[in-house]
């Protein structure tokens, strides 16, 4: 199995590029799946998918191979993890817990944690190629850092000890004794409020078996991403941001020992220019296009100068007139990514 991870800041067309990489791989005969961890469900629009399904086969032509798409639904992934890994008697208590509901309505961290859980679910499903579209931000790399932090947290014996002592003291009606015995903890309570701290500890004592299983799986998944024979990272950017994005992501990836294989400069204005242009508004419009296009070319030249030797491939993708929507525009993008040598017959 091979994994491609697409990284980039917002608005660069990461999701479309990820989907077209997957399409290009499928055309080469691989059974391929693209996973978007983006909460905005843009992949669905790009692939023309039905609503409601978290995983479905994309209706490409038979000659184009087998392409699947999966969305990351944080709540569904979390619910599934609870059902799979919690003790049956704890399941309902977890699902009804106020902290669990707060997690569900909050974005802090869960997106990142569940992305890796979802990747793990999919890796076990026997695809030849997995293409992953990460959340749109410079902090996209959080999805590979946070699970490790979380694993450390759930391993922290102290938290378990506190929550057990707390429950024990509470059961005996000795809350204040329990608290004074754990002085720091008592003071934390005075800031955050007893209920908040109690709820969190209570929740994590329930959630602990899930977290433990999760940590093990997350460590395995991250190790797979670090294996250069399995995983390649592609940076997706646009001309105006290319140099800055590349500098940032190449450094961050290197720090984590991930392999950068390609920089895709998407949404480039590189269409062929007319020989001559009449006067009037047409001239104004042409000027506008060619100034933008020229600035794109300059940015790309700078990018090549800086990263041409370090990064194996810098790929320029022309911008389409409208948003990538539906399979036809994805095919146009895939053609630019991995040109088809023998075009597949399309009805």
């Amino acid at each position: 199995m091979k994994i491609v991870v697409c990284l980039g800041t917002g608005g660069v067309g990461k999701t479309s590029v990820a989907a077209s990489i997957a399409l290009a791989k499928a055309r080469e005969g691989a059974k391929c799946l693209v996973l978007t961890t983006d909460p905005a469900l843009r992949l669905r629009t790009a692939l023309g998918l039905k609503e409601g399904l978290l995983e479905q086969r994309v209706p490409v032509d038979e000659a184009e191979g087998e392409l699947w798409a999966a969305l990351l639904d944080v709540n569904a992934t979390l619910d599934e993890a609870v059902r799979l890994y919690a003790k049956p008697r704890d399941q309902e208590r977890i699902l009804q817990h106020p902290i669990y509901r707060t997690i569900a309505s909050s974005l802090s961290g869960m997106q990142e944690l569940m992305a890796v859980e979802r990747m793990d679910q999919l890796i076990r499903r026997g695809f030849d190629n997995l293409v992953i579209d990460t959340a749109p931000a410079r902090h996209a790399l959080d999805i590979f850092d946070k699970p490790v932090l979380f694993a450390d947290f759930s391993d922290s014996g102290k938290v378990r000890l506190v929550s057990r002592t707390y429950k024990f003291a509470e059961a005996l009606g000795l809350t204040s004794i329990g608290r004074s015995a754990l002085e720091v903890y008592g003071r934390v309570e005075s800031i955050m409020g007893t209920s908040m701290v109690k709820e969190i500890l209570d929740f994590y004592s329930l959630f602990h078996p899930i977290a433990e299983g999760y940590s093990d799986r997350a460590r395995e998944t991250v190790a797979l991403l670090r294996d250069h024979t399995v995983t390649e990272f592609r940076i997706v950017t646009i001309p105006d941001k290319a140099l800055r994005d590349a500098r940032f992501f190449v450094t961050e990836l290197k720090k984590r020992d991930f392999a950068t294989s390609m920089i895709c400069v998407n949404r480039t204005w590189s269409h062929a220019m007319p020989q001559s242009v009449p006067q009037g508004f047409a001239n104004e419009l042409f000027d506008w296009y060619s100034s933008v296009s020229a600035s794109h070319q300059r940015s790309i030249e700078k990018l090549r100068e800086t990263f041409g030797t370090e990064i194996k491939e810098i790929r320029i993708l022309s911008e389409l007139e409208r948003d990538v929507e539906g399979l036809d525009s994805l095919r146009r993008l895939a053609d630019q990514l991995e040109p088809v040598t023998q075009p597949a017959a399309r009805p």
């Binding site: 800041t9 309505s105 701290v197 969190i200 269409h271 242009v277 419009l285």
Partner: protein
Amino acid sequence: MTASARLIVFCGKGGVGKTTLSLAAGLRHAIDGRKVLVVSSHPLAELALAVSLEGLSARFPSAAPNLFVVYIDPRDLITELVNKHFPVPMMAQRILNSSIFKNLIEIAPGLKEFFFLEKLQELAERRNSDSSTAVPDYDYLIWDAPASGHFLGTLRSAKAFEAYLTGPLATAGAHLHRFLSNRRNIQLFPVTPLEEMAIAETLETVEAVAKDFQISCSALLINCASPMCSATESDIAQVECMRDSSPAMHFAVDRGLIERERRAELAASLPVPQVLIPRITHWSSDLDLLAKIGGQMDLSQFS
């Protein structure tokens, strides 16, 4: 007369130019001699990777002392809170260093977002309370909000704390929710280019904010518009004839026509004033770009 404590918010999909427009608006007001505080959602080191204000004091000497850009790190706020509760530094340090506390802060859902919002509210309200006694700290408070999903998640943390918890944070949550639900406190400027997915996300966000917080948007900022958006019908007819003369013209004309269509649809689905910000084609530095955009963007008419 008390100055109205308005929080100006630029929101929208990732990559639509929220940061650029926030800074451009801030620069414009600062050039006019107003004190501006731009609250960025990017840590400053990260922001510096994306945009640079180099040369500000040389080119806009009047603006330099007036323009402030800050990033509010929720971790600092938490440290501040602990220090306030425990005036004995040793005790405060002990708590901050304890692994239980650190873990609780990291894991507690929505906690960081919540502290951030509280700080924002404090900044907005301080201006109000100070205005009777002293010169206000700043004339404009601009929040360069995070991308749509995270923006809504941040706003909703106030509501979640109020709804699911009891204790001091729940009380603060209720207070914060009241502040956010008062349209006199917030001026919302969604930013979008004329692209389908960015528009869809903008409409969803605007609808969610209106539903959860009863805040309506002041104006829609249309970023990176094609010159065809503001062209006359006869100009459009001229370029339409040229459409097939080359791939470049084909692209430019098609794009322009699509943008015109979308702009009209947007006017129907979101009946608020539209501010058209053309795509800038020539700029010598980031600062130059911000000044050019700021020059195209007069938002004072909406206050």
